[in-house]
């Protein structure tokens, strides 16, 4: 995850409290989405950014996991196209596995 986004998320967590923050990812590929999920839970795995060694433990989901919670028309317009071309199962598997391991706020 790029350094600027790490800094923003860290600041938001400090301002609002980690328990009040949920990160929604849109990564198009399982490994990248997994790395982003890891960054906001267990800390930056590349140890390069502001979240290196910082375990925010945030709740983190990929947008594909939140299909039921999003307005159907909006989902249809914004996400459904990508849902058809991406490996949805692999992405969900990766993000949910990271969440199970490191997130402290799972609901």
């Amino acid at each position: 995850m790029d350094l600027e986004n790490q800094r923003r998320i860290k600041e938001l967590a400090e301002k609002h409290g980690a328990e009040n923050l949920v990160v929604v990812l849109g990564g198009a590929e399982a490994e990248a989405a997994g790395l982003a999920a890891e960054t906001v839970t267990a800390g930056d795995p590349t140890y390069a950014g502001p979240l290196a060694g910082v375990q925010l433990g945030l709740g983190v989901y990929h947008i594909f996991e939140l299909k039921d919670k999003v307005d159907e028309a909006v989902y249809e317009e914004q996400v459904s196209m990508m849902e058809m071309v991406l490996d949805v199962d692999a992405i969900i598997q990766e993000v949910s596995s990271i969440r199970e391991q490191y997130s402290q706020f799972k609901d």
Binding site: P45, T46, Y47, A48
Partner: protein
């Protein structure tokens, strides 16, 4: 073989040192107490075996553009902490960072005789340039591999720091350093050779004791029968670019090439062309770029009818530290355009 806590100093670039990205790549060396960035993971992996006492950080561009001064400053900062082992990187596939880690390793081993451990992707130019001077753990090509790389590095740090015997590259997971060591073998050479031959003939797996270097041999095309009839293009890895290097081709580890129009140009002068190359003394190329890219001579030959035509465009990149994979990629793209433009022969100049 004491079990004291090893003292480790860690070398990082500006990015992993938390200073910033490419816009901060020109920062000079600085030092911090304790760990920074990936040092946190190193510290955890070393546990009670060692302590990262200090971290030295230098911008990649600064290091590569001032390699002698920067090495000297970095060595001074590192040596005053009396490390048992120095860790540089890991640099993954970051070319300039890999070269900096390698140069630090060379300076440390030349001047202080302290072992250095690093981590790089096999294609990082730092591997080929400096493999002799460090134990370089093989990593993936991006920082996503940090989690796997750091424990490997820590393992070698402890071995080297404790003076334990180092196994072969295959056993320990570092890249070959070109070091040969005499060992006694249970079986004599002739028997081992015949055993290998038998396995080879039977189509079975065997491991050679003397791996051959892999050279990428390019078979030359047949000679052109009559060059007075054809269009010839110039391509160079010597970094000749129009004044002020409009495409910002990097002075080392080039990530791109340039295509430049030389229609109407009969002579490259010091006002109009220069070299972007950072790997040789640029003075003579800047004074007269024809020394690297002989446009003047080819124009004469064109006028005399010795060659058919000089192609309107020439292509240039910087060969300095540029990975073979990148160079091959550039060549594929350039060759496709040259063929499409009806060029029948290329003069490739280097430095």
């Amino acid at each position: 073989m004491s079990d004291k806590k090893l003292r480790v100093v860690h070398y990082l670039n500006q990015f992993y040192g938390g200073i910033g990205g490419e816009d901060k790549a020109d920062v000079p060396p600085s030092e911090r107490e304790g760990v920074v960035g990936p040092g946190m993971a190193l510290k955890a992996a070393l546990g009670n075996n060692g302590e990262v006492v200090a971290t030295v950080i230098c911008g990649d561009s600064y290091f590569n553009e001032n390699i002698d001064e920067a090495s000297k400053a970095v060595i001074e900062m590192i040596s005053k902490h009396n490390p048992d082992v120095v860790v540089a990187g890991p640099a993954f596939n970051a070319g300039r960072y890999g070269v900096a880690c390698g140069a630090v390793a060379k300076a440390i081993s030349d001047e202080l005789g302290i072992p250095v451990v690093s981590g790089m992707y096999p294609e990082n130019p730092g591997v080929d340039m400096y493999r002799k001077f460090a134990y370089v753990v093989e990593t993936g090509n991006s920082a996503a591999d940090m989690r796997k790389a750091i424990p490997q590095i820590a393992k070698l740090v402890v071995k080297l720091g404790r003076g334990e015997e180092m196994g072969t590259p295959a056993e320990e997971g570092y890249m070959e350093r070109g070091v040969r060591k005499n060992v006694f073998h249970d079986e004599r050479g002739s028997k081992r050779a015949v055993d290998m031959l038998v396995k080879k003939l039977a189509g079975e797996q065997f491991t050679t004791e003397y791996p051959m270097p892999v050279f990428d041999r390019v078979t030359p095309n047949p000679a052109v029968a009559d060059v007075s009839k054809i269009k010839i293009a110039l391509v160079t890895s010597g970094g000749i670019v129009p004044d002020k290097n409009p495409d910002r081709i990097e002075s080392s580890s080039a990530s791109k090439y340039g295509k430049y129009d030389i229609s109407g140009v009969n002579d490259l002068t010091d006002d109009t062309f220069e070299t972007a190359h950072g790997g040789y003394d640029p003075v003579y190329a800047n004074l007269d770029a024809d020394r690297v890219l002989p446009v003047d001579v080819l124009r004469e030959m064109e006028q005399q009818g010795k060659i058919g035509e000089l192609h309107r465009y020439y292509y240039a990149t910087v060969g300095n530290g540029t990975s073979v994979a990148n160079a091959a990629k550039f060549a594929k793209a350039i060759a496709a355009e040259l063929v499409a433009d009806g060029v029948q022969a290329v003069i490739l100049t280097s430095t």
